[in-house]
């Protein structure tokens, strides 16, 4: 039993340097996730500010409309379909880096969810805080930046961490555009060795390890931010 497991390990990962697929795939997955998270935060932040400004003051009506449209389209369609549309339709006639396509697709997608998370954070801050800021002479932007946002961020951190875990795992559909991410790496090995167990379990364990590390980091950040509560 142990011997056959060892043999299977060798065929799946050592022979023909197959572990390189996994390593390179992991690199692609991490790169895509990292840049998608950045894009997601930027888009999410901007959309959330527009939306909550409209909710609070009634200004930015047109922009709010665009943001709502964006949220509806992105949240209303599956991310795989968005990925395929960006690759085969929007960049239909050009040779574009697949990593870039994936970063755009997942960043755009994540932005919609992050926007709603940020908005819930902003709306969760009592209006009194806002009025206090204004009465101290801060203008709208300053109040937002110095009083509302720091509190809101602390409130939404768990939900934000959750969204990024989801994003990391969602990138596993990148294989649809033949991008060799971690999942595709497992698929390639599977198509060479016809063994399902080893490649799939290995890929699953790597995702799990990444999520665990990330959860730990978010928890540490949460604890640090909490320390100012006392």
């Amino acid at each position: 039993m142990l011997q056959t497991l060892q043999d299977r390990f060798v065929t799946n990962f050592i022979a023909d340097d197959r572990w390189k697929y996994i390593l390179e795939g992991l690199g692609v997955t991490l790169r895509v996730t990292f840049f998608a998270v950045l894009i997601g935060i930027v888009i999410g932040f901007m959309v959330a500010v527009v939306r909550s400004t409209y909710d609070r003051t009634g200004k930015l009506k047109i922009l709010n409309l665009f943001c709502k449209l964006y949220l509806t389209v992105i949240r209303g369609t599956p991310v795989v379909v968005q990925l395929l549309i960006i690759y085969f339709v929007i960049f239909g006639s050009s040779d574009i880096s697949k990593t870039l396509v994936a970063v755009m697709a997942f960043g755009l997608n994540s932005g919609a969810y992050v926007a709603e998370i940020f908005r819930s954070g902003i709306m969760s801050i009592d209006n009194g805080q806002f009025e206090a800021g204004r009465s101290l002479g801060f203008n709208y932007v300053q109040t937002m930046l110095h009083i509302i946002m720091p509190q809101a961020f602390k409130n939404v951190l768990p939900a934000l961490g959750n969204e990024f875990i989801v994003l990391l795992k969602e990138t596993s559909v990148s294989g649809y555009i033949a991008l060799q991410d971690l999942t595709k790496a497992g698929d390639i090995i599977r198509s060479r060795t016809y063994d399902a167990f080893m490649p799939l379990i290995a890929v699953a364990l790597i995702y799990l390890a990444m999520v665990l590390i990330f959860t730990k980091l978010v928890n540490m950040l949460e604890r640090r931010l909490r320390s100012s509560d006392h």
């Binding site: 085969f88 040779d95 033949a178 698929d187 198509s191 016809y194």
Partner: protein, 255 residues
Amino acid sequence: MKMKKLVSVLLVAACSVSLVACGGKKEEEKKAEEDKTLVMATNAEFPPYEYYEGEEVVGIDVDIAKAVAEELGMELKIEDMAFDSVIPAVSSGKADIALAGLTVTDERKENLNFTDTYAKATQVIIVKEDSAIAGPDDLEGKKIGVQLGTTGDLYASDIKDAEVEQYNKGFEAVQATMQGKIDAVIIDSEPAKEFVAEAEGLKILDEAFTEEEYAIGIAKDNDELLEKVNKALKTLKESGKLDEIVAEYIKADAE
């Protein structure tokens, strides 16, 4: 109150008895059914060997499998799946036979038994009409699209400095060539013809990439079925039925 309890206990007992009875019967039926059905694993995105026509999977492989099943007195059931799942499905016993334009290779022989071959095929190269690639030798250092796990994929990985992109579906690789994302596609000749007929601005190079033969894959430990299928194939070959099936689809292409 007491009465209610008693009734409920009885009800539960009755239910569980009937459940057990049902379960037993179903199992038996299932077993009998299993003996009579021949499950075929395939990837129905590979015209003219297997593809969807409406809701049904049709094609050369499907008709051959039907004919074989008829010879064996069994009923054919088709399971459509991703190409790279076809071989594991058969070796793990989820399906009985694999017909998916499956080329016999040494690597695959380690995981499956193959019947006698039933069709010849070539791997061809699809490029844009204005492409500078004229033959297999020009593929060095190029971006080549393939379908994951196909023989084209295996061969492409051996080309020097080539960047191989493994698509889940063959037509997606063809589409990527049309859009100029990749330089060429290596794929089986018959589906290639269909793709090029549908897609504009593409051509198949005259010089084939490799020649190979298709066979039916059967699980390693199922020698009995292997023997039976081989016998059925032989009958079909001798009666000319096999050529008939192939001619029906391949001729239809030329028109």
